[in-house]
């Protein structure tokens, strides 16, 4: 059961609006996602989030940290961005062998000093474990885009993530040094489903699939994001038509097997920002028709460079070669 003394339930309601002070964008988790977070906390297992790019996987960690820890959320949030060369051990700590070698060669440094000097630096996972022991409230560890890592990476993580009591030893230290987390941090792992993860790893996770946002959700996201940069009433009125256009385009690209990179939420938000900045609606380069449809002057989508980021998609959507 949950060990926290001052347990605070995650309800997913803390970021309904843009937080100007902390520059946090709004975040609207579904009821299922909120429950999945609570299930992961109860079982002290990592929450494996999967879904298409732009579905809001990575942002959950930030929103969760903010809801649980308020303005101090950054002290409790550790992000571990995975690369193709990332090793599981780096998440715990890295050891500065080179500095130690230099020190051993430096006659002015005594061997006793070297013995007790800390040559290691905790990684994001190590820091989260340490924080989980020191604090009453749980830290949040985000392991972002696990698919990018080497095939052995998830299996290497197993040893560390296994069991509710998380611990590891810094083996290179001269004095026995062990970091023990009595409580597990909240671990969120994101995956784009680009590669298969081993069954042994999956068995230890709680799963949640984030679907691409529905039109209503996109409208809510778009509105909340635009309100932070523009108070222009015309722009606010345009949002519904812009989102409609985006959703239709997204569906069209999803259905087209030749489409390389279907547009995602981040492209929508960038597109809206550009339109809000340049205000093409002022000179009727962009307007809403009688049926609520979006009308582009010259029938060409405005600022396509923000939406279509693949050459083939560009050609298909615009029917032109931009070279």
């Amino acid at each position: 059961m949950i060990k926290e003394k001052n347990y605070k339930k995650y309800e997913g309601k803390a970021l309904q609006h843009y937080n100007e002070q902390l520059e946090l964008d709004p975040y609207f988790p579904s009821e299922g996602l909120v429950r999945a977070v609570e299930v992961a906390r109860l079982l002290e297992r990592p929450l494996l989030l999967r879904g298409a790019p732009g579905s809001g996987k990575t942002r959950l960690a930030e929103a969760l940290a903010f809801e649980l820890h308020g303005d101090q959320y950054q002290n409790y949030l550790r992000k571990w961005n995975i690369k193709s060369t990332t090793k599981a051990s780096e998440g715990l700590y890295t050891y500065d062998h080179l500095q130690k070698l230099r020190d051993t060669q430096d006659n002015s440094i005594r061997s006793k000093q070297i013995k007790y000097k800390q040559y290691w630096k905790l990684g994001p996972m190590g820091e989260a474990f340490q924080k989980a022991t020191e604090e009453n409230a749980p830290p949040i560890l985000l392991i972002d885009e696990i698919d990018k890592a080497d095939i052995d990476f998830p299996n290497d993580l197993l040893d560390v993530l296994e069991g509710k009591k998380k611990s590891f030893e810094i083996k290179e230290a001269n004095v026995k040094t062990e970091i023990v987390a009595e409580k597990s941090p909240i671990i969120i792992i994101t995956s784009n489903d680009e590669r298969e993860l081993p069954n042994a790893f999956l068995r230890r996770c709680v799963f949640y699939y984030l679907p691409f946002p529905e039109k209503e959700d996109l409208y809510r996201i778009a509105k909340a994001n635009i309100q932070k940069i523009s108070n222009d009433e015309t722009m606010v009125k345009l949002i519904a038509a812009l989102v409609d256009y985006f959703v239709a385009k997204h569906k069209e690209m999803e259905a087209n097997p030749n489409a390389v990179k279907p547009i995602s939420t981040s492209e929508l938000l960038d597109w809206l920002k550009v339109i809000a900045f340049y205000k093409p609606y002022d000179n009727e380069a962009l307007k809403v028709g009688e049926q609520g449809e979006l009308i582009f002057k010259n029938e060409k989508v405005l600022y396509p460079e923000v939406l279509f980021k693949n050459y083939d998609d560009w050609k298909t959507q615009l029917g032109v070669d931009y070279k």
Partner: protein, 379 residues
């Protein structure tokens, strides 16, 4: 207590047996831990299904089967409860009851109904409410998990990714048959590794740095390990002879699995007729163009052919040509694996039986492909 009487045990077991999800005992226990400890309480079947998905549906592709079995099991559970509480005779599994359609109940929630077929109340008589010795009681079914792990989930029963139907005589009527799941295939191909240097990395090469220190007595610049990425070179040689026509879908399925699981791989496909010696492809390339010399033995070659097993022919010319071909090929590649769509018992007395002595030949089935990771790991 009989294991079958644990609520949702049968659902859990069917997921393992029928869908092939590799679930273990801690995952079953986790379900009960959440079910009993969740605040606020789980209130309707939708939430139970969501919880089961969170804990047991490890891949999105299981969704259809998962939800179907869940509905069946909920219907059965409702019938059992109804039978117990009001002495209504429970219907058999295939039976239907107008008031017990599980699909209707999914969105109804628990409500205030006293109908025992509704979501069972989270108090009183719920059999799993007695959690004091849940772990101990679960121990009695642990043995069964261990025994079935090997057969059910790993090789014995594999879902068939096709849209066919089973005929009365147990033959599968489908043009799209593949004996292996996509994910299983993708897992196999991941063992193909060929690390190519990409760029100078940022990770310190401790061994290299220490070596320099020992050699020169000082460190000029630290040494760094190169960043690497997996870009294996793969050549697929596909038999296009008439006996392989039936396996055309399977070929495409394999090629697609290669491309999906190894997006950075360099994959070339060549075609041949009976023996790979007579190779051709769309551009009329020969084998030495598909596998050029000086490849530093990094290319993996997969031959997709029945090797004569489909017709049971023993063709000495075919065997000789294949031997010559393999002898010439081997110095330039890291591995050669022959994938035979016919089961091993069909190889006997055909050319396949002899060719299997010349090269690692695997039948394309869950059991046959089990040894593939080992073959690939050691290349």
């Amino acid at each position: 207590m009989e294991k079958e009487s644990f609520p949702f045990y049968r659902f859990f077991h069917r997921l393992r047996q029928e869908v092939g999800i590799e679930l273990d005992l801690p995952q079953y226990l986790a379900f009960w831990e959440v079910f009993l400890g969740a605040q606020p309480h789980i209130e309707n079947w939708d939430q139970v299904l969501d919880l089961c998905k969170m804990l047991w549906m490890s891949r999105a592709e299981y969704k259809g089967s998962f939800e179907r079995i869940f509905k069946e099991e909920v219907a059965q559970l409702c019938m059992d409860l109804k039978g117990k509480n009001s002495e209504i005779k429970p219907l058999d599994r295939e039976g239907t009851h107008p008031n017990l359609n599980p699909t209707n109940r999914f969105t109804e929630g628990s409500g205030s109904s006293n109908d025992p077929a509704d979501f069972p109340p989270a108090t009183d008589t719920h059999p799993a409410k007695d959690t004091s010795n849940l772990g101990e009681r679960m121990g009695s079914i642990y043995l069964q998990f261990s025994e079935t792990d090997q057969t059910d989930a790993q090789g014995g029963i594999e879902s068939i990714p096709c849209e066919g139907e089973l005929l009365d005589n147990n033959y599968l009527f489908s043009e799209k048959y593949s004996p292996l799941l996509d994910r299983r295939l993708q897992q196999h191909w991941k063992y193909l590794r060929s690390n190519h240097t990409k760029k100078a990395g940022t990770n310190l090469d401790v061994a290299g740095t220490v070596k320099e220190l020992a050699q020169w007595g000082r460190i000029s610049t630290p040494k760094y390990l190169n960043a690497r990425e997996n870009r294996p070179k793969i050549v697929l040689l596909v038999d296009q002879s008439p006996s392989m026509v039936a396996f055309e879908y399977m070929e495409q399925h394999f090629i697609a699995a290669f491309r999906a699981s190894l997006p950075k791989a360099e994959i070339k496909v060549g075609y041949f007729y009976n023996s790979p010696e007579a190779l051709y492809n769309q551009k009329g390339l020969k084998i030495n163009q598909l596998v050029p010399k000086k490849q530093e033995n990094k290319t993996a070659v997969f031959i997709f052919s029945d090797a004569g097993a489909a017709r049971g022919n023993n063709n000495s010319k075919r065997i000789t040509q294949t031997r010559v071909f393999l002898k010439r090929l081997r110095p330039d590649v890291s591995t050669v694996v022959w994938l035979n769509p016919l089961t091993e018992d069909r190889w006997m007395s055909s050319s396949a039986e002899y060719i299997a002595y010349l090269v690692d030949m695997l039948e394309i089935s869950p059991a046959g492909m089990k040894s593939l990771p080992n073959l690939l790991k050691h290349t």
